[in-house]
C-alpha cells in the first residue's frame, strides 16, 4: 500500500514537472533525441540515462537535426518539412515554431548566438532568423537551376567572424555569408567547386570547410583564413580504377573525425574510410569497412573512430583504432543504427537503433553495451555540449 502511494506520488510529481513546472538544474549533461516518425523528441539526462520530457508537435522529423543556444537551455530543431522549432529543454516545451520553407536539411547557429540559419531544398536557399523569437532576418535565395527551381542548399555550418558557409548541390558552388551586419549580408560565391556537393563540414577550429562531392571523386576544400583563394579539390584520385558501388544512403559529413593530424572521412561508393593528413591534405590510407559509411566519428580523444553504415548494412557499427588504422570491433546493435553521439569527454557513445525503438549506450573503453532507453524510432542524438562547438 505504501509502495503504491509512493508510486502515485512519484507519477504525480513527474507529470506536474512535465506540464507546468520547469526543472531547476544545469543543462550541461542533458540532450535531445529525435523521434523521427512521431514528430516528437525526448529530452534526456546523460548522467542517469533517463528521459526527462517528451515534446510533441514538431512536424516531419525525418532527417532532423538541432543546434543549441549558447546558454544550453534552448534547442533549435530543424525538421524536414521546413519547420524550425525552439524548444525549452528545462521545461520540455516549445516556445516558438515557424514553418519557414517547404523542404529543409538542417541549420546552424551563428558565432554570437543571435542568428539561426536554415538550409532549404525547396525553395532552394538559406533563411536566417533571430534566435530570440525566430523572426526572419535575411533570405538568401540560391542560384536558379531553371525557371521553376533553385539549387538545393546543403552542408550549412557556422564559421568564425559571424559567417555561415554552405554549398549548392545542383550548381556545384560554395557560398560564404558574412552576417556582421544582419541587415546587409555579404556573400562570397565560389563557383565550380566540383560536381554535386551533397554535404559539408567545418573543422573544429573553424578554419577549413570541406564539401563532399557525389558527382565525382574528391572533396572541395576551402581555407576560411584565406577565402579569396577559393576552393581546391582534395583526394581527387581516391577512387581511381575501382568500381563504384551503389549508395543506398548518402554519407553525412558532420563534425570532423580528427585524430591527431589525421582526418577520417567516408568514401562515397566505396566501402572504405579515407584517411587524410591535415595540411597538405594527401591521402595516407583507406580502411576497408563493412559497408557504405554514413557517419565517421572520432571519440573526442581521437583514439577511436566509430562508423555506421547505409542500408542494407545499417545493423552494424565498426570501431577503428586510429594508430593501427584497423577495425578493432564489429558491433551488431540492431537494424537501423542511424546516429551516434559521444559524451563530450568520450567515455560513452549513445547510438540510435531505429528498428528496436531504443537508444543503446556503450562504454567506449570496454566497447560494451551498458544502458538502453526506449525511444520511438530514434534518429539524431544531440547533447548540449554542441552549444560550444563550431560547426555543430
Amino acid at each position: 500500500m505504501r509502495f503504491l502511494r509512493y508510486l502515485l506520488m512519484a507519477s504525480t510529481l513527474y507529470s506536474a514537472q512535465a506540464s507546468a513546472e520547469c526543472l531547476t538544474r544545469g543543462t550541461g549533461d542533458m540532450g535531445i533525441v529525435i523521434e523521427r516518425a512521431a514528430g516528437s523528441l525526448q529530452v534526456i539526462d546523460r548522467t542517469t540515462h533517463q528521459s526527462l520530457f517528451r515534446v510533441e508537435g514538431l512536424g516531419d522529423l525525418s532527417h532532423a537535426s538541432a543546434v543549441y543556444s549558447r546558454d544550453e537551455r534552448y534547442a533549435y530543431v530543424f525538421g524536414r518539412d521546413g519547420g524550425l522549432t525552439k524548444v525549452d529543454i528545462l521545461c520540455g516545451k516549445i516556445t516558438h515554431r515557424v514553418v519557414q520553407g517547404g523542404n529543409s536539411i538542417g541549420g546552424a547557429i551563428s558565432q554570437d548566438g543571435s542568428l539561426i540559419a536554415v538550409s532549404n531544398y525547396e525553395p532552394g536557399g538559406v533563411k536566417i532568423f533571430s534566435s530570440k523569437d525566430l523572426s526572419l532576418v535575411a533570405d538568401i535565395p540560391a542560384t536558379p537551376v531553371n525557371s521553376e527551381k533553385r539549387a538545393k542548399t546543403v552542408g550549412l555550418v557556422d564559421a568564425p567572424d559571424q559567417r555561415f558557409v554552405f554549398s549548392l548541390y545542383d550548381t556545384g558552388e560554395t557560398w560564404i555569408v558574412d552576417m556582421t551586419d544582419p541587415a546587409d549580408p555579404q556573400i562570397q560565391k565560389n563557383l565550380n567547386v566540383g560536381a554535386l556537393p551533397y554535404d559539408g563540414l567545418i573543422t573544429r577550429d573553424g578554419r577549413y570547410y570541406i564539401a563532399g562531392l557525389f558527382g565525382q571523386d574528391g572533396l572541395a576544400l576551402l581555407d576560411l583564413w584565406y577565402p579569396e583563394k577559393g576552393t581546391r579539390l582534395i583526394l581527387k584520385d581516391y577512387g581511381k580504377g575501382e568500381q563504384k558501388l551503389p549508395v543506398y544512403k548518402m554519407p553525412h559529413l558532420e563534425g570532423w573525425a580528427m585524430a591527431g593530424n589525421r582526418a577520417f572521412l567516408p568514401g562515397v561508393g566505396h566501402h572504405q574510410v579515407l584517411v587524410v593528413e591535415r595540411g597538405d591534405w594527401n591521402p595516407v590510407g583507406k580502411i576497408p569497412v563493412h559497408g557504405q559509411p554514413v557517419f565517421v566519428m572520432a571519440r573526442p580523444d581521437g583514439r577511436q573512430i566509430w562508423v555506421n553504415f547505409a542500408f542494407p548494412d545499417n545493423d552494424t557499427i565498426q570501431v577503428i583504432d586510429t594508430e593501427s588504422l584497423k577495425v578493432i570491433k564489429t558491433l551488431k546493435p540492431g537494424k537501423g543504427a542511424l546516429h551516434m553521439e559521444f559524451a563530450p569527454r568520450g567515455e560513452e557513445v549513445w547510438i540510435s537503433i531505429r528498428d528496436k525503438d531504443e537508444i543503446q549506450v556503450y562504454d567506449t573503453r570496454s566497447l560494451e553495451l551498458r544502458h538502453s532507453l526506449p525511444v520511438d524510432k530514434p534518429s539524431g542524438i544531440f547533447f548540449t555540449s554542441r552549444a560550444h562547438t563550431t560547426g555543430l
Binding site: 516531419d60 525525418s62 532527417h63 524536414r80 531544398y121 549508395v247 544512403k249 542494407p312
Partner: protein, 108 residues
C-alpha cells in the same frame, strides 16, 4: 538523355510490361516494402515521400511517368544520379507493385 530513354524502352520490351495485383504480393511482404519505402527510400525522398535530395514520390509528381518506367527506375537505378539499383533487395514483380502503389499515392 535520348540514350537513356532508348535503353529503358528496350528494357521494357525485354521485360514485357505487366501489372501486378496486390494479391500476388504476400501481405507481410507488402508491409516490409512499405517500411522500406518510408525509412530507406525516405532517406533521400523524405519519410513522407515529399522529396529531399531526391525528388518527391507523390502521385502528383509521378503522374507523367508510367508504372513500367518507375518499376525499372527502382530496379535499375538512374545512372548519373544518386538513385541506386534496388535489384538486390526487390524483385521485378515487387517493383511493379510498388510503382503501382506510388502512382496511386501512398503518402499520408
Amino acid at each position: 538523355m535520348t540514350k537513356t530513354v532508348v535503353l529503358i524502352t528496350a528494357a521494357l520490351l525485354v521485360l514485357g510490361a505487366y501489372t501486378v495485383t496486390a494479391a500476388e504480393i504476400h501481405p507481410q511482404r507488402q508491409a516490409e516494402l512499405f517500411y522500406l519505402l518510408k525509412h530507406d527510400c525516405g532517406s533521400c525522398h523524405g519519410m513522407r515521400l515529399e522529396g529531399g535530395l531526391g525528388p518527391a514520390l507523390t502521385a502528383k509528381r509521378l503522374a507523367p511517368y508510367g508504372v513500367e518506367f518507375l518499376a525499372l527506375t527502382i530496379i535499375q537505378g538512374r545512372p548519373g544520379t544518386p538513385m541506386p539499383p534496388w535489384r538486390p533487395f526487390i524483385t521485378e514483380q515487387e517493383a511493379f507493385w510498388l510503382a503501382g502503389q506510388l502512382k496511386q499515392g501512398v503518402n499520408q
